[in-house]
Each structure stands twice: as structure tokens, then as C-alpha cells.
Symmetry: C3
Amino acid sequence: MNTTSLAQLAAQVRNLLDIEQIKNLKHRYFRCFDMADIAGIAAVLHPAVVLDVNGGIYRFRVEGREKYLDMVREGAHAEMIMQHNGHHPEIDIVSPTQATGVWYLQDSVWEFRRKLRITGAAIYRDRYEKLTGTWLIKHIEFQRIHEIVEPLEQPPNVTFSYLATHAKKLPPGELEAYKKE
Amino acid sequence: MNTTSLAQLAAQVRNLLDIEQIKNLKHRYFRCFDMADIAGIAAVLHPAVVLDVNGGIYRFRVEGREKYLDMVREGAHAEMIMQHNGHHPEIDIVSPTQATGVWYLQDSVWEFRRKLRITGAAIYRDRYEKLTGTWLIKHIEFQRIHEIVEPLEQPPNVTFSYLATHAKKLPPGELEAYKKE
Amino acid sequence: MNTTSLAQLAAQVRNLLDIEQIKNLKHRYFRCFDMADIAGIAAVLHPAVVLDVNGGIYRFRVEGREKYLDMVREGAHAEMIMQHNGHHPEIDIVSPTQATGVWYLQDSVWEFRRKLRITGAAIYRDRYEKLTGTWLIKHIEFQRIHEIVEPLEQPPNVTFSYLATHAKKLPPGELEAYKKE
């Protein structure tokens, strides 16, 4: 058996703790996102976070935590259901304060007002930064694997929706269509 | 570089091992549940386990491992398919024998006798206890994010079902409807 | 508090690092598989890998990395979408170079040429081997929990498909039907 010094061991354990903290960070992000928990999302984002999304029917880029939160405040509402699940994390700790992550996203969104159902999968390529002892999401890049958009002429039989009672009510009228900027 | 003592390191490693064991515990639970493996489920539950489920079309509470297993023996049968996947674990080790966990459940159940398909997502809030060296599930609280119930007039083309050959056969007749107690 | 020696700690940390590496290995496998990344798949497979699949409408066995890669080169094409997600890892490190893993697979495949949609779940039982410092997938056994095959008369409204532009184009004509060998 070869021997490992205390300092080597401490570095390995630090690595494992950082990986677990970053997985938790992203897990909280998904939970808070689908429940439109703005304060919860704010707590996992870096002040200078950049989001770069390249979907099938939309493309957009958001810079800064405040604009990110505005996007969620605007986008999440009572007449939709969202499900975003991050699978297969591949986390690399690059330095004591920098890390990268790859995730396989499965997403499913019902938009009752827009009469659309969007389902798909994507690869997330993230960068994380540790600020004053806490890992935060610094950069998110979203590359589609597939996306399917189906018309939703009749809403399904929704027997429970958290967003219906916890997210903002929409004013009457049509929502803006998605666009590839 | 700051130094970490052997005792500090041992505590950090203990924490990581506990987290991994608890994830495994819940992973076995889901695997055994969807395959109606009663002995496998019994092995992951605390004798005093409490299950508190607040779904869209059902609400119930079960107290104690024997009643929990009775519920599975009653509920799982050959004319259904169940899929329960636990995503995004957020595990906190509270003491050497107490821990909590948050999970994001995705569930999909086809009930051919009841002619229903139920799909949804929920947040699990769990408590775990270590008894004689083994982590067990002590308390499960289930809060819906969304639930959709669709009629299943015609069963789909099922080309394989483990429960069809491994779970109990139903007597003829209708099953009791779900209810919110 | 009981004390843990440096050597005991090093063994526990080695175990945790191995588990994390094996999870990453399988996560990369799924990502590369659904994107038909042959080089990426080659990098995670043992030269003597065995794949033993027992599905609902197909059964096959592949021996050796080259035949495995041939199978992917043959099977992945521009007129399909694949989604394979591995949940609930239960990894056991058996020795410094041998490990086992159990995973809960959720799979969804759209075959536009065959006009089929196959969805299901399965248990993977894997064996891993560490070769010159790198964990590789050595043996994969696939046991179905459920499988549903639906006709796909009309393709859905696919608004993005990575395989459509990155996988091989099919020659005209019908594809061979699946078979249980």
C-alpha cells in the first residue's frame, strides 16, 4: 500500500466536499426554479451570472443576477407548469474557487395560455465560483439535444399545480410568442 | 495553505460517507418500490417510519413499517406500471444518527384497471435515523408541485411489465376510487 | 469520539473518489450515447466490455468494444431521437480495481423511419474495472421494468434535433424490424 499524507488527504476531501456542495447548489436551483421561488434562486446565483440559452424556438442571453431574476419574475406565472430535472452531473474543481459542471437536462413545460407543450433535453455547461465561502452559479450555457413543441388545444386534467396558487396571475390577453433573437 | 487536523478530516469524511449511504438508501427504496419488492422496502424503513402524502387526488398518512408494507402489498398489483424517480438530493447530516433530505420526485403511474394515468412531480422532505450502524428512512413528507390525471380508455401497447408477472393478481371487479381523506 | 487512523481515512477517501469517478464515467456514457459521440463512448468502455440487453421487443448481446461501437455506428442515425437517463446509482467498490453498479434507467426513443416510439425503464447491473488508473465499463446487464411501444404515424413537431445534423443519414428504404434473438 502506498501512503497518503495528511495534506494530500485534506485536498482530496476538500475536492469531494466541493463537488457535493456544487451538486446541492444546482439541485436547489432546479427546485426553486420550478416553484418560482425568487429568493431561493437569488441565493444560488453569482451577481455577475451569465445565462446563454440556445433552444429550438428561442434563443436568449441574460447578464447579471438582477436581470436573471427579472426573467423568472416575468416568465413564471399561474397558467403554466414547469419541470426541469438535471441528470448526470460531471463536476470538475479547477481551483479552490473555480469549478465547471456538465449536466443533462430534461425539461417539460406546459403553457396553458400559449397553448403549447414544450419537452426536450439539453446539455448544461456551467461555471461556478466560490465567493466568501459559498459556491455560486456564474455561467450557464445551454445546448439543445432535442426539442419537441406540441399544440395544447385543450389543457390536460391538472389535479394539482403549485404555480397556479403561488405564481403571479396573468393579465388577460395573449402572451408574446417565443423568438430566436 | 491552512492545515486540517486528522480529527477534522475524519469528521468531514464521515459526513461524505453518510451522505452517500443515505442516497443509496433512497435509491434502493425507489428500485424496490417500482418492482414491488416488499423485503427490499422493509430493509430501508425505520420501524417507526411515518409517511405523509398530500397529492392532488389523494391524501393519506401511514404510521409504522408494518402498515407501510401493508400499503405496498395492497397497492402494487399486476395491472399497473409504476415509475418513481428521485432527483436532486439535498442531504444534511444533522448529527451522527440524524439526517434530513430533500428530493425532487418525478412519478408516472399507469393504472389499467382504474383506467387512469397519473403523472406528476413532488418534493420529498425526509428524515433519516441511523440504527445500529444502518441509516433508515424515518419520516417522509410529500408535497406536490404538479399532478395530471388522464383517462386511459385503451391501455397502451405494453411490451414488457415486471409487475405483470411479479406482483399480485387482482380479483375481478372495480378498485376503490382514490380519495382525499 | 473514536479515532480513525490516517490509513483508514485514506481508504475511505479512496472509496469515495472511486464512487464519484464511476458515476462520472456512466454520466459521460449517457451524454455521448444520446449525441452519437463514438469517440466519447469508446473512451468509457473496457476493451472486453460485454453488453447483455433483455428488452421487451429486442434481445441482444454484444462482446468487445469494437462490436459495441459498431452497434452505435449502425444504430444511431439522423431520423431518430434518443434519451437515456440513468438514475439512482448504487455503486460498490469491491477491490481497488473492481466495482459494481446498479442504475435505474429511463429511456425514450423516437424512431421516425420505423414509425415507433419506445419508452420504458430498466435496471442496469454494471461491472467496472480500473485499467492503468482509469475506471472503465466492463459489463452491462439490462433488465426491463416496463416497456411501451406506440405507433408514430405522424412525427411530432421536432423543433431541434442534434442527431438530425450530427448523426449518419439513412439510405432510403425500410429499417429491419427489432427482434428477440
